[in-house]
Symmetry: C2
DNA sequence: TTATGTGCAAACTATTTGCTCGTCT
DNA sequence: AGACGAGCAAATAGTTTGCACATAA
């Protein structure tokens, strides 16, 4: 797999080693999409039950710094990890907690505005937007 | 103060009581702007040293449900509380951690788009946008 | 005199750190 | 041998819960 190759090379270039744990964590992030460290740990432990959650945290941090995965804070609890090429914006409903995904391109106008106005380079692939989803809006109206 | 009045009435209408603790927490949120529960606790304890952090959490939760304050997750650690009328969008730099504020109106086009496209009512006053700030961008370019 | 609010201790969740030991080179 | 990585236990940060006591209505 090229993932394994790519990771191995990236690590080697920095004097780091490829390990089964690192491969398993990357695979888990890839296949789960939007998983918490806890969920990733469970997935990894299906294959290698002795892997410790500490290793999960350390590996996620490493992969994040290498740019292979990214994390988003979708509200309260634990952050959510995805592989870097899985890009979209999250719409988080603060009423029911549901999450929808929308394409990043919808934010292009805003990205342009912020770049010009504030010199701020918005990273749309990192994003969680909070609000009220259609279903919860409908229910609100029915209550009135 | 009308804050005190307003809070007292809101509480009374629901069979709840106005207490010094609640007033102090609301005052602290108001004067600190973007404070964590921990920071709010410290501020309150300058006046009333025996107030427990538990009370801070319970009161913030109450004020949040009453709509008098709101909280935002600006990245990792603890959430950040502000009074409800202090509305703006946060630009969080994921490199240096700095926070800028911009007016909510800049998001109006996006709010419209999401309303039409997804029936999602984006709450722009709740928002933290992550990216790279001007200073960090400049430094990146110098390094290259 | 009862509902409401507070303080205190303990539990809990998510995460980090220190240390030892194993292993690749 | 020396650097790097993993496992384990303990520490830490942030938050919640249970319970007993206090107090306003």
């Amino acid at each position: 797999m090229e993932t394994a190759r790519g990771l191995r090379k990236t690590l080697h270039d920095r004097g780091m080693r490829m390990t089964p744990q690192r491969q398993l964590v990357l695979d888990a992030v890839r296949s789960l999409e939007h998983a918490t460290p806890e969920q990733i740990c469970q997935r990894v432990q299906e294959t290698a039950p002795t892997v410790n959650i500490t290793t999960i945290y350390r590996t996620l941090d490493l992969l994040d710094r290498l740019g292979l995965v990214r994390h988003t804070h979708l509200g309260h609890g634990a952050p959510s990890y995805s592989v870097d090429d899985h890009q979209h914006v999250h719409l988080v409903c603060h009423v029911c907690g549901s999450i929808q995904e929308i394409p990043c391109e919808l934010l292009d106008p805003l990205v342009g505005t912020l770049r010009e106005r504030d010199g701020f380079e918005l990273d749309a692939s990192h994003l969680a937007l909070s609000g009220t989803c259609r279903d919860c809006l409908t229910q609100e109206q029915e209550t009135e």
